[in-house]
Symmetry: D2
Subunit: 396 residues, 4 copies
Amino acid sequence: MNAPSNAKPRGRQFFNNPGPTNIPDRVLRAMDRPVMDFMSDEFVAIHHACHAGVKRVLKTDQGLYMYNASGHGAWEAALANLFAAGDTVLIIETGYFSLGWAEMAVNLGIKVETIAADWRKGADVSKVGERLAKDKAHEIKAVLCVHNETATGMVLPLSDIRRAIDEAKHPALLLSDTISSLASIEYKMDAWGIDVTVGGSQKGLMLPTGMSFTGVSNKALDVARKNKAPRHYFHWELMNGRAPQKFMGTAPVHMFFGLQESLKMLEEEGLDAVFARHARLAEATRAAVRAWAADGKGPQLYGQSPDRLSNSVTTVMMPEGVSSDPLRKVAIDRYNLSLGGGLGPLMGKVFRIGHMGDLNEPMLLGCLATTELAMKTAGVPFSPGGVDAAIDSLAS
Amino acid sequence: MNAPSNAKPRGRQFFNNPGPTNIPDRVLRAMDRPVMDFMSDEFVAIHHACHAGVKRVLKTDQGLYMYNASGHGAWEAALANLFAAGDTVLIIETGYFSLGWAEMAVNLGIKVETIAADWRKGADVSKVGERLAKDKAHEIKAVLCVHNETATGMVLPLSDIRRAIDEAKHPALLLSDTISSLASIEYKMDAWGIDVTVGGSQKGLMLPTGMSFTGVSNKALDVARKNKAPRHYFHWELMNGRAPQKFMGTAPVHMFFGLQESLKMLEEEGLDAVFARHARLAEATRAAVRAWAADGKGPQLYGQSPDRLSNSVTTVMMPEGVSSDPLRKVAIDRYNLSLGGGLGPLMGKVFRIGHMGDLNEPMLLGCLATTELAMKTAGVPFSPGGVDAAIDSLAS
Amino acid sequence: MNAPSNAKPRGRQFFNNPGPTNIPDRVLRAMDRPVMDFMSDEFVAIHHACHAGVKRVLKTDQGLYMYNASGHGAWEAALANLFAAGDTVLIIETGYFSLGWAEMAVNLGIKVETIAADWRKGADVSKVGERLAKDKAHEIKAVLCVHNETATGMVLPLSDIRRAIDEAKHPALLLSDTISSLASIEYKMDAWGIDVTVGGSQKGLMLPTGMSFTGVSNKALDVARKNKAPRHYFHWELMNGRAPQKFMGTAPVHMFFGLQESLKMLEEEGLDAVFARHARLAEATRAAVRAWAADGKGPQLYGQSPDRLSNSVTTVMMPEGVSSDPLRKVAIDRYNLSLGGGLGPLMGKVFRIGHMGDLNEPMLLGCLATTELAMKTAGVPFSPGGVDAAIDSLAS
Amino acid sequence: MNAPSNAKPRGRQFFNNPGPTNIPDRVLRAMDRPVMDFMSDEFVAIHHACHAGVKRVLKTDQGLYMYNASGHGAWEAALANLFAAGDTVLIIETGYFSLGWAEMAVNLGIKVETIAADWRKGADVSKVGERLAKDKAHEIKAVLCVHNETATGMVLPLSDIRRAIDEAKHPALLLSDTISSLASIEYKMDAWGIDVTVGGSQKGLMLPTGMSFTGVSNKALDVARKNKAPRHYFHWELMNGRAPQKFMGTAPVHMFFGLQESLKMLEEEGLDAVFARHARLAEATRAAVRAWAADGKGPQLYGQSPDRLSNSVTTVMMPEGVSSDPLRKVAIDRYNLSLGGGLGPLMGKVFRIGHMGDLNEPMLLGCLATTELAMKTAGVPFSPGGVDAAIDSLAS
């Protein structure tokens, strides 16, 4: 066998990172077109349709701002518009990404208080209410949380958090990062009382990385209007003045070409059907992992709270003393299967299977069967029968 | 769940028909380009490179003619250039496609004699020698055969056939259809003494349907030169006059754009590595089928001669009384997996798994696992463990 | 300046060959998609829609057969289905392509009689009637003609030809090649009494080369049914038996993906608007050429019968003693403009400007202005003001 | 004519906005590929190659930071990393974009002083030196300027500005926006002593909007390291910690797929050849405009300093009392030619012809000829002969 065939495995790559995700051919092709004047009537119509579509996905009738930026840009937009240096926010610990958002806030001069949590069990929502109840002076401006923690594969019950804030009769805004859950797991911005929703293009919306956005409640818009902190690129009020596109600078028209198509696909399938498909595929994934763990010596589910396991990503904990690195390396180098690694303190200790966005049964089964093959090749101990369990789960 | 989601299953289609086959993105993208003057220097260079490349794949240093036509066009080219009405050819029965080529010969006025065979066992090569030995008058102009019968998933030992002809001291030409084996299974036109090789674009060359070709030995070219039978579109000598492209009419430049890229991919991997990959994936497929058949009640391998089982397609015989139609329907409608059906007398009695061209481990395992899922959904009896057996086969 | 920049001129190529023609991005992208089972319900639906659409373009309610072949294949289909060796046909001389079709007939054993004509003036239709009137025995089976002779840029009045046949009370079939006129210039198969229309994918249908077709009248189908001449690949009756696609062998699904899109584009614009656009752009082209010829020393229109000048291609005759080769070479090598050359006896004596298919005002003006630039660069004498005349023509 | 044909003009759009610009098919196709893990070895290699390539285009050996953001993001990156609220910068007025950068600085709390200038003549560089010489306390931290003002079509002599700063013995940094000049007009970051160069993807680099970057001198990096002002998304030092990609959040891999191809194209042609081509096409554009203005009643060049006219965009001033809006509307609606409008105070008073990036002679001549056609259609007075003058200019 010659070198190039080692270097470039043949056939389609199976991309099961939990983001970015598979981009459907329809979306890639929609983006493969000549440029368009972003001030033209033609683009304005596309832009309006996309805004309306994203609001339907967010389930909000309130504000929406889009950014030529990654999800971290939308994080910064939320913080920069609502808070000034010296303000305090409360963040609910969930894992790597909650830590990241907190770090950003600190770098922007915001004081951060954390509701600590065991990553495998998930945060205790009652602690949020307790903390806010003590904040009689209302120094805490907002509660920040990550709806679906991509690092641990666990979700937070957002409506419970809103209820905790309300029961504490506290005016704190509720900011939620839904980057890895939107368009994969049910999300109801208005019904759940979310003030700012941070989303990105490269997960459930099945687009390349490059655009992010924030849904913003009227209450949050009021706060932003009164905030005098310096900002420009992500400045909501300035963006309002940049009609019709509301972008600072040139609008990324190709992202909109893709977004228009991905919204069409989501609505052709129907959002409820999309969520049901994710639930079905996630359950099959968990069935496979549980089978691998059957004798207690194989990889197991990282998350320990069954009602909080994510339908868009499954984090799998390696057996004690076995690194996930050789497994992931053999998967990608030999079988062209891309699995996610562990982030931060979980590096080497877990691997992650993304099952969000453009995925169906054979794609998932191909991933799970090849993961078994790679475990065998890499010498990772596991109980057999994972794929059979997944098939059973899907057939039922 | 709404109607469109039923009508259009989500996610990438798993295409495991035994042809046409998966077209790699690289090839599709290479074809997604503006048109080019087929008389331009730029196209002439591409054309020459492609001719040289196809000859390397055929392993021939003799003649090559390409057609803007499907494989049936190349079949006709072989017949129209070499034979006149009233000539006799001997065809080796292998299955649906050998019947088809014979039917074409009859329609072109050629007399056809057949070496009959049990499709599941494959033809007895010694009968070819016996028949030719009896043909003292050398009325038989050629032996025609299908190297890899796509309908049954079985191959013919071409060099044995050549030996049989030679040992009979018969001047018959040897014509071979390699449509579903070329660039998937070893093929040595010159070394094996093949006079005409019929190939097509849409199998191991990983291109869309639309171009076919014949490798032609010098001996066959001599015969063609003397043949006065009427012909034009596929006329080899006329094509020689249509330099530089040797096409009757406009050359299909986009097929060449794709061919240039697919040849590059084949040579990056290396033909031997390509064949080894096909052997590995085919063996895993057979391991799965054998597991399904373990208790004697499930689907089983159609082919009964182990040394003739094809590495590019596996034909699977359904249990007595169980049609393959509902299985194939649930596979495509519910899981977006396209499996091949039975052809001619095998309709409903078998299904076929194509594993040629652009395929790797996760693609195949996804197909096999989903076939199990579809068998379960459709109520086809089978012994479990097919995917496990395939994984074991691949890991070894 | 370095070599690569000479070798590969920058920017988009202006493709003004009279076929193949510019393929719109929408069509290229529609073809840039994974393969599909040609027996699947999904493809059958596409196939049916395309058949219906092509019939609307042909303006026929009678038969239609499609081929995986270039236009020459459809020529052969027409001849092979309708005639046997020894039959006689009458061909109307128009230029290079009428000669080609006649040559093919001869190679298929058909006797060919020709109505000779001055290529620059076009055939005298009355001679057709005269000849047929003399054919009391009805030995002439058909009249063959090229609607739009791509080599000379001149059209034939087809309804006049049908009238001449009818007035001669002759049963001859009327076969017409509309390869370079269809979907560019008005064509009414049924109303004009055409029995067989030969069309191809790569001109007004704006597709890559690779598919051709014949519209066939019921009268011609009757003739074909009685014809026992050997044939297979292009055999209409056999194709009827290959439902649902009616292709001999694998159907070229990608051509249909493109055809579906190009038909959609034609119908979005409206066929009448398509013809009007071609008329407008052709008139501007002729205005430019007439300006270049103003002082009698520059290039001039090849065609001398104003009412027969084609709206899809303009053939331009070089000044006496000046070859078109250096002009075309500088156009392509230095300015990335591809112009058509002269065919057969016109080689070097003319160049051709294709203005069919996907073309608008700036594309044509860019071509004409660059042709002026190339004439200047190559030292071809011409009167200035061609582009100005074209602009005036378009503005009026 | 039916409505769709009005709504969607046929044929390829001629895109002569001065940014975003034409994206070559090669670049679009390079971006039309599946996603890739941004942490994979394969992407890291692409990333490194792109970094090295952009540095070659900038002609710098110092720092480079890339952003998932539009050019405005890179503007903000430059300001946020180098300055704190209360700092003072000096901006050289050139037009709309210099005003925009100044407005951003003010919004970020930075004090802005302006070297005023007549937009049609361009700034007087000596005033920069005079102002800095007076700033004995070195309160001015930096001089900001726009190398190629896209609104007016005029360039600034950057090396003269550096000399003025040095001659004033002032430590001010020199920040330059080269968004609409890079890879179109010569730029030498290190040789010219630029401390920060702001660039974007959607102009001379021929990519979609979506990525921007800053070249950063070592001197500027030192300043940034000491700057404690709050920032995160654009934070250079934090980005250094995000090896290997140095992106905050997910890297936009598709932009890199495109950048890799566009860099390849630039280097195949050669940067000097690229600049020479832009000069040639720009001169032809100016020749056309001068011809239109010949009798003093038509449109004329906006810029009045011949040595400062841009080679990437030409701003054309309308005759007194004639708005550019109807002209631009007829150009796009009727002829599918997209011309740039006037920005800010120039709205309606000028139109702009972009001639940067992927452009050749026929593309430019098609644009100029169609502009003449549109002027005629819209009733804009002009002297004829613009295209002839452009052809003459190109032929010389």
